[in-house]
Symmetry: C2
C-alpha cells in the first residue's frame, strides 16, 4: 500500500457538515478499491481540501473521488515521510 | 493555536535524508515562533512537499520556513477537519 495526498480546489465557504457529507461519500465506497481515507482538511477561504489516503494506486484513489462526485487530477504519491 | 498545511514545490528527486535535513532546520528554530511541525510528506516525482503544522499564525509558519531556507507562500489555514 502506498500513501497519497490529494488536493481539491473550489471548496470556498464549505462548512464542516458539508465536508463531512462529501467525505462520507468516499468512505462509503472506499473498500471497493482497497483505499482508506485517513483525514481531510479544509481551508474554506482558499477553497482547498487536502486528503491523506492510503491505497494500492493513484488510479484507485482517483476512481473513488470521481465516483463520489469530486474528481481531482491532483493526487500525489508520498514515498517519503519525516 | 491553528492548524496549517504548507506546500513546497521544486523538491524533485529529493531523498529521505535530504528532506530530514531540511526539516531539521525547521525543527531547530520552531520554538522561537511557537510553531510545531507534525509531519512532512514528499512526492519526489512532482517535487511537492506537504507539511502539517500547528502554530499561532500563518505568518509565524512562513517565517520559520523562510529562516530555514525553504520559503513558501502556499500556507493554508485548516479550520475544518474530518
Amino acid at each position: 500500500m502506498a500513501k497519497f495526498m490529494d488536493v481539491h480546489s473550489g471548496f470556498f465557504g464549505v462548512t464542516q457538515e458539508q465536508l463531512q457529507e462529501a467525505h462520507d461519500r468516499d468512505l462509503a465506497i472506499q473498500d471497493e478499491e482497497g483505499v482508506r481515507y485517513e483525514r481531510a482538511w479544509l481551508d474554506p477561504e482558499s477553497g482547498k481540501v487536502f486528503c491523506l489516503v492510503t491505497g494500492p494506486s493513484r488510479e484507485a484513489v482517483m476512481r473513488i473521488h470521481e465516483r463520489a462526485g469530486h474528481a481531482t487530477a491532483e493526487v500525489y504519491e508520498l514515498p517519503v515521510e519525516v
